[in-house]
Symmetry: C2
């Protein structure tokens, strides 16, 4: 069964251009690790205020987050991304991906 997940994070809007540039060139090893740990149809959308919305499909989000968190490449990626995020109280962004409640779906 497919689980659809939407989560929100916040980046510093002053760094939006650099954030976009980095995400236009995500390391191939990072992309492979995401696929291998079950992240499918994964998109990130950025608002002008810095609100970042993620959408993905997976079998089980908790499992995919945990498995991704166990990869060495993710640790490197998150460390290199830490400066963009605000309001995370020093925690890693991937630990702050609380899924929103799905209230409607139409295939």
């Amino acid at each position: 069964m497919t689980q659809r997940v939407c989560f929100q994070l916040r980046i510093n809007p002053d760094l939006a251009d650099e954030y976009k540039e980095r995400h236009a060139n995500v390391w191939p090893e990072m992309l492979s690790a995401l696929s291998e740990t079950g992240w499918r149809n994964y998109s990130l959308f950025l608002g002008s205020d810095g609100l970042l919305t993620g959408y993905l499909e997976c079998d089980d989000f908790e499992t995919s987050v945990r498995r991704m968190g166990e990869t060495a490449i993710n640790e490197k990626w998150q460390a290199s991304m830490a400066k963009f995020f605000v309001g995370l109280d020093g925690g890693a962004p991937d630990g702050a991906m609380a899924p929103l409640e799905e209230v409607f779906h139409l295939d």
Copy 2:
């Protein structure tokens, strides 16, 4: 080609329960009209602060919004939903669905 769209609206969080109830029972004619006007894999996610995030796939979002806006059932639905939305300056919610910028995608 598939366009992935993410948009955000805001509802009154005091009415969240009623909003969810309505969306658990969307009129069948409304669902058919969405499908017929090209709305695919369409989900709505609701945050506790009332921020509503929509995600869908379509061929062309502007066309799908316009075609949906021409249906009689949509007019009835939007009128019945108007009370939930805040910050729309009196406009219809479907006219305020400004797509966010997609900054990353992995199939």
